[in-house]
């Protein structure tokens, strides 16, 4: 086994160079006044915390939470039945439909966002069918965009637990007098909860941290936390405040993953 360990060295190098070092840099930037024009010396400061209270930031946090929770909620409403249906299919069709669900993930997300953007302008290819939307910059545009982007991440973990669930448990519940509804909420749903938790977090995270999507579909009017970080880094050149927000966001994400692992100890729902 030991010599196999060498094979993991490239991965370790990659981890250190592209994950560990940048994270450390961001951490340092968030608690000092080092920046592009000030290379040293290091001086500890917590002055960037006051940026967290600025309306621009609080607004973005509120937006991030609002849109990501709504998008996750709708993804769940749509995704659970889809996952349930897929899991109940005969094996032959299963693979085919699941592939259909995954294919969009393989195309570039930015392209898909731009495609939606085009459809949401009053003048679009949809006019051919006598349909015209004027949705750019509205909640609908952001939510439809998010749900369409992240739905597969909700469906797949739920599908994978339901797929593995022993069908005879449904028979057993029926045998004991449970109707379809009771069977669902007493047996099927509780047994799929680990998939639901994974799916929720896998949807919530990218939705919360999205920035290309709100920028294009929100027409710049709707800012999420990602947009604010981008602004601080690229537009207002305040990389320290941007770093602090990034670090805090990372902490939230780590906590969410701990939550997944608590519900799903073998990690079977994380594809």
């Amino acid at each position: 086994m030991k010599h196999l360990r060498k094979l993991s060295y490239p991965y370790l190098v990659w981890m250190v160079l592209l994950v560990f070092v940048p994270t450390l840099l961001v951490l340092l930037l968030s608690v000092s006044d080092l920046d592009v024009f000030n290379a040293g010396p290091f001086r500890l400061t917590f002055e960037w915390i006051e940026f967290l209270g600025k309306p621009k930031v609080t607004n973005a946090v509120r937006n991030s939470i609002y849109y990501s929770f709504l998008a996750t909620f709708f993804s769940f409403l749509i995704g659970y039945p889809v996952a349930y249906y897929l899991a109940s299919l005969k094996t032959r069709f299963k693979t085919f439909y699941v592939t259909l669900l995954i294919i969009p993930i393989w195309s570039n997300m930015l392209l898909r966002i731009i495609a939606w953007e085009k459809l949401f302008f009053p003048i679009s290819i949809l006019n051919m069918f006598g349909i015209s939307f004027d949705l750019i910059g509205t909640d609908y545009a952001i939510l439809i965009g998010m749900v369409s982007m992240y739905l597969p991440f909700m469906v797949l973990p739920i599908y994978s637990v339901l797929e593995k669930m022993d069908r005879s448990l449904v028979d057993a519940a029926k045998d004991l007098g449970a109707n379809d509804f009771q069977t669902f909420y007493k047996v099927i749903f509780p047994l799929s909860i680990s998939g639901v938790v994974s799916g929720t977090i896998m949807t919530l995270l990218p939705a919360m941290t999205a920035f290309a999507l709100p920028e294009r579909l929100g027409a710049g009017k709707i800012q999420l936390i990602g947009n604010v970080i981008e602004d601080y880094f690229l537009k207002t050149n305040n990389i320290n405040a941007g770093s602090l927000i990034s670090i805090l966001l990372m902490v939230v994400i780590v906590f969410m993953f701990i939550a997944i692992l608590r519900f799903d100890k073998e990690g079977e729902t994380l594809i």
Partner: protein, 350 residues
Amino acid sequence: MDKVLVELKNIKKSYDDTEVIHNLSLYIKENEFLTLLGPSGCGKTTLLRIIGGFETHDDGQVIFDGQDMKDTPAYQREINTVFQNYALFPHLNVFDNVAFGLRIKKLDKDTIDTKVKNALRLVKLEGYEQRPVSKMSGGQQQRVAIARAIVNEPKLLLLDEPLGSLDLKLRQDMQYELKEMQESLGISFIFVTHDQEEALTMSDTVVVMKDGVIQQIGRPEDIYNEPKNRFTASFIGESNIVEGVMKEDYLVHFEGLDFTCVDKGFAKNEPIDIVIRPEDIVLAAPADDRINGVVDDIIFKGVHYEIIVLVNGREYIIHSTDPVNVGDEVSLNFDPDEIHVMKRTDEASS
């Protein structure tokens, strides 16, 4: 005891063009203990699933308590099942598993408590209430499955090899408890087992099945003593099965000799199969008007010896409490009523 509870009429069932239940008819009375006995894959589980409502039959009728069950979903049938693979709910502990059906019926908490406790005592699992079922052994899980079904006191209980994973002692205890409960609660049991001894000791009626066809239905004694064909005879207990010819009523010819017997109603000189149980044969000194052979082997089996006697190249099994020596010349002796003549079936050589 005499009222018919379930009647199966001409049931047919196919999976992907293979018919696994062929035109099967059967009834079970109230408070009857009926056992389905047959080799693996003969359709026992399928039949239980049809009665329970988990599988739809292609043709025929299931009549339960006078009503055609065609449009009654599984959850509305007053039937409970002990599934072959237990099918316990992995997210619930032992207590909640057993209480599942009672909670669906919305019984009050105290009643549920008492009933679950009773059921767990019956299967000897008191004190395990809070255990997650995943932390139980196979035999314990099987007993939880039994408790979960019986606690509902249905009219009919379907048990699919419910004692398969238990050791001998526990198995015998549970056989006794189940039989006792079936009699005292007045529940009808349809019990599936591979174990012919279990079938014979527990049942009022035994149904022997093969390839989705009923071979014989009868009381345990009848099934054992009067097997209808070679399959039943060989499936129920050890036996010596020999081909012969029915010369006329009460006269049968085999191993080159004529014997009087108690069977009649066969055609003149009809080829038949004969079964003689190992314990019905008595060994004696060789004689001209007897089947003679040589002792080939003797095995001590605890209660008795199993003796193999070679007769014209054919092995006979004899159970006896008296030992003999290998190489002894002996004759086989049996009474006319210990010769059971059976109709020759198509696959006579199986």
